[in-house]
């Protein structure tokens, strides 16, 4: 079907919805990184954890601004049996207070609990997309590792800006970045194998898509180079911060594209051409 290729773009989730995945993902990643720092007691964690929580809340607030009946928002909790959106909300409902406890009490235990919830939150977000069977670009199974990896890459990247440019955190950011890179390549490869995904792939090849990808690669190089330039603290700091920021920006860009522009609806599939008259039918007697 020639025209089925022109399946429409989803019309309901705009940048506000994308914002949930951007801020929620980054926040969760930052919470996880901060919790690791708390556990290692090697680096500051309260401020990054607070920022992470704030980020998650901003993401959820953006969703609240998007929904049609915001004053009924609490109905979101009604369907934990199968809805990843309900589960995300429930996890967020636990994450926020426990995270706040960790921040206020400077509790590493609470921070680790928050991190576990943040991982769950990310997991829910990934599956929100994965369960969207109307959008082939989200339905792709490789979306789950990508959303998880990019959240971690964004959070660990941003953590570098919190003054933690030491080797373990650089290594974590690099590891997360590489993980994301792998997940992204796997996602793209999976998408390429899915019939009718050319237009979605095309979106990632637009200038905006290439910019996001470029930022990701520059981030990796920057982070990897930072330890090598330890002798030049100024440059190393600049490199680490640039790399961390770009790691976050790259994820934000890719997710914004994924949610808003690459989300074409599933094309109609008519596997056969209907037989419209044949000339061979029974005589009309």
């Amino acid at each position: 079907m020639n025209r089925s290729l022109a399946a429409p773009h989803q019309r309901n989730w705009d940048l506000r919805a994308a914002g949930n995945f951007v801020f929620g993902g980054t926040g969760a990643g930052l919470i996880v990184t901060a919790a690791l720092a708390a556990a290692a007691a090697a680096a500051p964690f309260r401020l990054p954890l607070a920022i992470g929580l704030f980020s998650v809340m901003i993401g959820l607030s953006l969703v609240w601004l998007e929904i049609g009946k915001p004053w009924r928002a609490l109905n979101v909790f009604f369907h934990p049996h199968t809805s990843w959106m309900t589960r995300e909300s429930i996890v967020a409902g636990a994450l926020i207070p426990i995270g706040l406890i960790a921040v206020v009490l400077a509790s590493a235990t609470a921070a680790l609990a928050a991190a576990a919830l943040a991982c769950g939150f990310l997991f829910c977000q990934a599956h929100i997309l994965r369960a969207a069977r109307g959008i082939p670009a989200w339905r792709q199974k490789e979306i789950v590792p990508f959303i998880l990896a990019t959240g971690l890459a964004e959070g660990s990247g941003l953590y570098l800006l919190a003054g933690a440019q030491t080797l373990p955190w650089l290594a974590l950011a690099l590891f997360a970045g590489l993980l994301r890179e792998g997940a992204w390549l796997a996602y793209r490869a999976g998408l390429a194998r899915t019939p009718g995904s050319a237009r979605s792939l095309g979106i990632f090849d637009t200038q905006a898509g290439r910019l996001a990808r470029g930022a990701q690669l520059v981030a990796l190089v920057s982070i990897a180079m930072t330890p090598l330039l330890a002798g030049f603290p100024g440059i190393a700091l600049l490199l680490a911060c640039t790399g961390g920021a770009l790691a976050a920006l790259a994820g934000w860009g890719l997710k914004a594209l994924l949610i808003t522009r690459a989300a074409f609806t599933r094309p109609v599939a008519v596997p056969v051409i209907p037989v419209r008259g044949s000339g061979g039918g029974p005589l009309p007697r």
Partner: protein, 911 residues
Amino acid sequence: MTAADTATVKEVPSFCYNCVAGPDLMTVRVENGVATRIDPCHAAETIHPGLGRVCVKAFGLVQKTYNPHRVLTPMKRTNPRKGRGEDPGFVPISWDEALDTIAARLNDIRARGLLDEAGLPRVAATFGHGGTPQSYMGSFPAFLFAWGAVDYSFGSGQGVKCTHSEHLYGEFWHRGFTVCADTVHTRYIISCGFNAEVSGGVCAVRRHADARIRGVKRVQVEPHLSATGACSAEWVPIRPKTDPAFLLSLVHTILFEHERTVLDLPFLRDRTASPYLVGPDGYYLRDPDSGRPLVWDEATGAPVPFDTDGVRPILEGRAIVAEAVTRGPDEEHRPYHNVEARTAFTAMADSVSGYTADWAAKVCDIPAETIRRIAREYLDSACVGETIEIEGETLPFRPVAVTLGKTVNNGWGAYECCWARTMLATLVGALEVPGGTLGTTVRINRPHENRLMSVKPGEDGFMNANFNPTGRNSWLSKPGGRNAHRSLVPIVGNGPWAQALGPTHLAWMFAKDAPKEWPQPPLPEIWFAFRTNPAISFWNTAELSNAMARMPFIVAFAYTYDETNHMADILLPDATDLESTQLIRIGGTKFVEQHWAHSGVALRAPAIPPRGEARDFTWISTELARRAGLLERYNAALNKGAAGAPLKGEGYDFSLSTGEVHDVDTIWNAVCKAATAELSGGAEVRDLDWFKQHGHYVVPFKREDWYLYPTMVRLGLRFELPYQERLLRTGEELGRRLHEHDIHWWDSQLDEYVAIPQWHDVPERWAQSVRDQGGDPDDYPLWGITTKSMQYTTGNNAGIPLMNEVAGNMRGHGAVILNATTAARLGIKAGDRVEVRSPVSVTTGRAEPVQGCRPDTVVLPGQWDHWKTPYAKDLAFPSLNTVIPMSLALTDATGSGSDVVRVSVRKVGAA
């Protein structure tokens, strides 16, 4: 409990007759006094071929009713200057002022005489598509009848937007003003562009769908894959305007590549003119004594008059006839001795001998093998020799048909197509028999209600024909109407519909520049316009609007402002579809595929009161009649049947007193009672209240009466095919008359009067038209054509948002459809803004590249020249009407033209 649950709901019977493919029955749902939706008429499921359903257009009627752009009070123009750029300055006035203003003009005219100094009616009227406005204008026909002479020649597309040649030739040959397949029975349909699935109405859509399930094979031959092409078994993309070559080659293939046994030889021998002997001058050889055409009797081996008892005519061959006479033009009788004659059948075979499939393949861009296969399949499906029982009557069964669409059967080449189509049916005896090619209604002959009864024995064993005279003393040398139909188009006759079927664009053209041989016709002093918008629905619309602006006094029955009533002096808001009362005839055999097994009448009851100051058309008509001093004649016209049924008949009399004013319900109550009395033979009388409850009343209609063949047999008549002696003679006479008056601008049209149609380079006429406009055909390499969409065709609903929304689901709506490869070659992508240019003008629209379109063709659906109609004017859709010249050179002998133009296409903006 919702508001809907507590609503007071009533269901009001009504009908939809927006297009000629109706009427169809429906129900209007009214909640708390507000019309909210259209429902089927489920009560009609067993009598209506479309199961009591209406098509998508009817669903626009709710929005139409509540359209905030409606004109809801009478208005008068305050700016005496008229033109597109002039603000009419309409101001509301009272009904009294509006009607008195019109009546004063009418009375003034009546005092001076109904005809002007040129002998033309001072009052003109134009109504929209196919006469369907009659079903909404209440008793206005009675007013027009009471008035007297009215000029109907200012067309709103007739001749170019209808299947014009089919109307004229179809009715001439087999009382088929509209022609269709007997879809209920047929097995094989060759459809040259007939868009049944779009413009065939619910009856055709349902029947064709049923036929598809049954296994019918329909081959759709058209340049662009229409919805009908989509629903066909096969699409054959043909080069525009080469259909005559395709159809002639099918005739050739059947005659020259198959045994004669595939033909229905008894039908050809007994029911057609095939055995008539043709003399060397092209006219029938006639018995010198009786003047009757001769046939060669197989038994006696001699020529005898065709109607000799016991004659067994030979179908084909040549012979020497000892004594005969021919009847040429102007009753010139030419004697012949020992002259070689050939049968009409042989003349036909000789005539088509060159039209091989290989020849047509080059002309039409269709593989020769496809043409041969289609001919073979047609013959294989024809069931020659078989019979079928219809309601106890045994009739021939020939389940093959050929149908023609708009643009194929109007304008140049259409005569050839109509002839070849009818001959294809005739060759296998599939004309007017079950399964074959049928006519469904008459308009040139009467009675309109029953086409079978319009058949009377005429000359030479054929049915009667009502041509306009072309004799030396009888030809109308000075046109009696502004389009000169009686002087130029003999075949259209002079019945009530003839003028509107004549070359209606000539009225507009002559309004600007009349031929020098004829006086410039004065414009009508009053022009009534209802449900018509020629300013967008004709060609070269800008020029046409200029002519309209010169009309001195226009009365427009106005729904909203539009491009035509922009020039009006008085606007009268009539109650629209859901607000007014009227009883119309349903069933029997009507236009397109409206042949039912019942006939009767249906009421359109007002679902809601008229909005604003809108008034029922019957009230308006009565008031006009009263104020114009025509009340007695008006009431008398109603009594005679001007509202659809004579009020007095055998065994009943519901006549209205002629001296008084009757209100709307009184008039329609009488019509309801009279119509039911007439239908039931006086046994049943149903009044208006009964109809408001039940909606419709029907009696059985014999299915045998779908077919003309039994009538022909009963009357011993022959179809006037294949040879067109009458047309040949008529053309020669017409040519003489015109030349006697030094008129030569109709000469190329005279070429069409031939006994057997021949191919001429039809597409070249459009190339020449480009040259005539000062252009180079190479600069306009594409064919611009149009197509209809069910959502809009003749629906008067361009200003209805719901129609635009749902039509948007169909490809090409409001766009320029073109072949994807062509688009790529021109650097055009989907959604790009493109301009379509002809030598006369340019139109722009969104490009929609598709595969289902010939690479040399672009398609602009619908008619979208609106610049005034609210909502429609803001859609910025392209319109082919803008770019087609209104041209005498592109007018055929019937006064018809085709919606075709040579164009160029280029991108003017990105998507």
